[in-house]
Symmetry: C2
Subunit: 152 residues, 2 copies
């Protein structure tokens, strides 16, 4: 046996994969899965982005909070949440007020229109979740959600 073939055998013992397959990396697939979800979301809810929806849904859940606090509840940093809230305010879906005691805080709350909007959209959002998970069986989806939560 040639020296070259001996080398191949040795290498074969440790299946040392030398190629790098971008398509198999968790970060790349995570990005694609997220893209697909956003696309499904947009097909059902055209006039609101997922971050805007998240802000409204969380305000509906917890009621009035400060802008920063809301940001931490929906995983957005201060700069990002400001832009989202500004746009929701411009559309009359949220209203802002100053905290009476702590003058640093900017309180955010749903307007009546914002409350109507989010209550109307929540059933649609449930359908979006279902459609996003549609490639998986119910059992697979349950497993996936459990593992995904561990990663996030």
């Amino acid at each position: 046996m040639s020296e070259e073939n001996l080398l191949k055998l040795v290498e074969a013992e440790e299946p040392e994969e030398n190629d790098y397959h971008l398509q198999e990396q968790v970060g790349f697939i995570l990005r694609k899965a997220h893209q697909r979800h956003v696309s499904i979301f947009a097909a059902h809810i055209a006039d609101l982005t997922p971050p805007q929806f998240a802000a409204l849904a969380k305000l509906h859940d917890v009621g009035e909070t400060s802008q920063n606090q809301l940001g931490s509840l929906i995983a957005m940093d201060a700069a990002t949440v400001k832009g989202v809230i500004d746009r929701l305010k411009a559309r009359g879906l949220v209203e802002l007020s100053k905290h009476e005691v702590d003058k640093r805080r900017l309180l955010v709350n749903l307007t009546a229109e914002g409350r109507d909007a989010i209550e109307r959209l929540i059933p649609i959002a449930r359908a979006i979740t279902q459609e996003t998970l549609a490639p998986l069986s119910a059992k697979e989806a349950a497993i996936f959600m459990r593992l995904l939560a561990k990663l996030a």
Copy 2:
């Protein structure tokens, strides 16, 4: 039994969940998992973003291609890939040329510096993948990757 309690019983038969829990929606968790991955990536590779890395890795894999073709290989639309390639070109990691036959096409290729960079970074990228999946056991990670791929 009061009418009210009877109603509660009837409702209990169908476990109709009335609350909407943003934190349990696949889109929200997907976004957070992606955020965490990007953060891990940045901690290991400070001078390149994940999309920039993806472009270099794919060029290393397939060699010279058109800008649009590269975009479809790494899941970026034409407008996005242009910005990514512009920045890689400004840093001397890729070079552009015109397709001889089809004058619409803009060919992209690694420079020597770009090739050095991506070859140096690939082992680090493997570590990033590992760290991203670290909250899962090997078996869980395998299952997760299979299900995630179905979603993406």
